[in-house]
Amino acid sequence: MEHLPTIYGAAVLLPLASFFIILIFAQQLGKFAAWVATSAILVAGLLSFLALGTWLTHHWPAGVHHGGHEEHAAPVHGEAGARNQKSESGYFVALIQESVPPPAPGHETAAHGANEAGHGEHEAAEKPVKAGEYYTLGQFGPRPLRITISYYVDALTVLMFCMVTFIATCIHFYAIGYMHDELTEVKDKEVALSTGKFLERPGRYPRFFQYLSLFCFSMLGLVLSGNIAMVFVFWELVGICSYFLIGFYVERKSASTAANKAFIVNRVGDFGMIIGLMVIWSTLGTFSFGPVSWTDDAGMNHEDPGIFDIVRPAAANHQLIVPDGMVQADAKEPTGETRHGKPVMGSGVADIVRDHASSRAGLESADSEIAARTPDWRAQGYGYWLLVLAGLGIFCGCVGKSAQFPLHVWLPDAMEGPTPVSALVHSATMVAAGVYLVGRFFPVFTPEVLLVIATIGAITMLLGASIAFTAFDIKRVLAYSTVSQLGLMMLALGLGGWLAGLMHLVTHAFFKSMLFMCSGSVIHAVHSNDMRKMGGLYKKMPVTAITMLIGCLAIAGVSVPFIVGFSGYYSKDAILEQALSFWRANQTPQAGLFFVLALLGAAMTTTYMFRMWFMTFAGQPRDHHAYDHAHESPPVMYMPVVVLSVLAVSVAWNYQYIGYFAIAAAFFVGRALQQGWFKYIRPSHAEHEDVEHETAAHYPVAHHAQTGHVFPAHAHAPEATVLHGARPAPSESPLTWGWVALMLVCTVVGGFVLQKGIASRGIEGLSLAALLEQARPTGTLADATGAWTKWRWPNEHFAHEPANFSTIVVPATLLASASWVGGILLAGAFFWWRALNAEDVRRQFAPIYSLLSNKWWFDELYDAIFIQPTMVVSRVIAGIDKRWIDGFLDWLARSCVWFSRVWDMIADRTLVDGFVNLLAAWTYSLGVSLHAVQTGRIRQYVMFIVIGAFAIFFLISLFWSPTLAR
């Protein structure tokens, strides 16, 4: 465990090193810049998994008796009976059974009231965390404020590192193929010059990977951060990387504007975040998440608690209390009376300090009295608003970063960036940073803040889902889907579903990035983003179609209820269960609204995602020219997608059941190889030589893939169109019944054997949920009520208690299943079987359609509210600048010139010159007058000698009285 900080530090710095290497050696590296970046992130990924292994050996997820786990809340043995319970959330139940003692009688009715541990009498155990500092940047002030580079490693960090590096590695490989155009001169068809031709510019291949590396460094640094100031630094760094990457095609006005929009909207959110940071610093005195040990000048060691320990101290059983700093900052005592006898409230702390200022003990006695009064003040409710404000401030930053309402407007425009950017930054990592921060800061949020988070999440979810219905750009659909899913994650977190929200973050990252990459492949093949030009692409791009189908199934949460499902099923159901238990805990329609909206959002998600899939891959091609040129992507692009699709299916599974999946997958892969599915995509070299010799290219698609050309050379086109019909299509049904039966039998038997083997080694507890459970903030496993709202936030395990199975889990799962079945059927009815007509619906609901296709007019609204007034103000001020300020300055300059002329006249010429000339005149006249002495007349000179001699004798006689010597 001691090496974890080093491992993570290395993993964070490797992409930074790659950034600098590519930055400096871009010219020399050329194509190999991609390999530098990819190998850096690959090694970082390996380090992350190494760290995961290290973590697991020390902290195996609760519920399994594996060696070496100390931090474990009241392990209960002998609950094997409960573990055999077959339920869809089987591992959830297992988790709880292991971690909770049998409920005391009468405990089922959880007591109401604030801050009660709703789970029995055990103490909330500390979660396993490794926190510390790498380097102290500075230490200021008496308390002191320490700015450090520090780390905070818990199971969430471990998980995020693995996820981010894995997805980033896949995307780096994908980008090697996708950005191929940038290796040579690029003719950008979206930029028209004034001459009417298209812009031609040199390619920028290395720069792309340079930015990707910088982004990976920033994201990993954000995840590792141990204090909120460092988070903010990396927050801005990911923002600027997103700006670079979105504006990669910088000559396109749309791209550079979108980059500006993304960054500026983010900054608006960061404004709120800074307010939150200010509140935290001024009242808590620290930025750090974990405890900080430092030595002061006198050499004494101090250990200051971190933010989480301050707001949820062990003394209060890790329940959220208003910290001392906030209470004291806000406390008010009556200090006097107005004329009418009403008390005047002034600061309580200042009162006490004033009272003690005159006493002999002075400050210490003031401190002790303040500390004694603080619980009183806390009970009166002082300082609560500061805690709420801190939480809202931090959430404001997350609103900007995670594209929540009302700052969601940047994410769809961010699709101007290349698809790898959309896949990495705007679906899996950067936008997830906001959700991650909400999850990380969860212990600090009061229920009021959680309510705000849930509301905004719900609004965002519906907003994004509704607009996605009308989008025709395939990337826009996915962008709005991302907005919607992020809203769902925030909704989950806001309802107290910490694990559900973060689990959805992880599963969403996998399937959304994969969906984006598939859409990139489609765009590459069809040379257009517009889904109205697609259709019927399943035959041309089978791998992409199937992986995208897997992604759509995952996002819809398709499952065999209670038994097994795609990864989205587990996370979405967890969210729905938490929403339903929130409703049950607060029996009001408003509380139930969240559940209903979440369900509605799930149904809408399924519908528009399958609309997208059907429009793109099913049915008849809408644009035959595009269809003819379409081809599968090269392996470097589809392999990462395939890998991610495997994870999109199975990342949330209990890893002992992976054996089943592995065997089934092996069957499919074998079949595909045998059937030659991949032959059309990557031919062997023998075939390629045939292609060279035969004038009629048998596999023009493969030829292109082999040579790496994405745009088929038009010389091939005539033969290609002829032979596309002649090329043997994949056999009608490669999966015979015999084969299917064999596969099922092998899967069941072999999977069972593998599972037993895995389980017998004692690793049956490992799953995504179990790992996240380890990272759950201490104290959040209790029901919580706010001071200002009367609602109760049930703890997350409440939904999974066996007693609530039939009231919460079953309805949630069944309703969710109904939603995805209904969604797929509806989408199919419109876009596959064409039983319903989308055009009719559009005409009938024209106002709604107009609202949705104009994105609820948010851009226009913001333009009217913020931009136009700003422009007006700026024009006014520019006018003032030009007329008044410039006028003043011009006047100033003119007066200066006038003054200098006058001064020249007065001072220079008259005074200075006059004086000098006067002296000269005097000298001259003196000379002239002395002139007169020299008459040249000798007799006068002799006279002067005589007079002079007399004068000398006279003077000497005055001063020297001679004595006659004797």
């Binding site: 002139h931 020299q934 008459t935 040249g936 007349r937 000798i938 007799r939 002799v942 006279m943 005589v946 006659l964 010597a965 004797r966």
Partner: protein, 84 residues
Amino acid sequence: MATKRNAIGVLLGIELVLNGANLNFVAFGSRFLRSDTIGLDGELMALFVIVLAAAEAAVALAIALNFYNNHTTIDVDHADELKG
């Protein structure tokens, strides 16, 4: 010396002055007016002055001669070309 217009007259005056100075030297250098003398102070100074007078008379006469060669007169009032 101061009143004569004739250059020779001025020279005569100079000689008189110098001789008068000689007499003063001898007189004040005698043992009647100074106690610590070597007895010949005045006469020594007078000797120097005589020599100087002789030299100076020669030079002055040469100047007067040259002046007459150029101006055909030895009226010192006409020797005012050094004015200015």
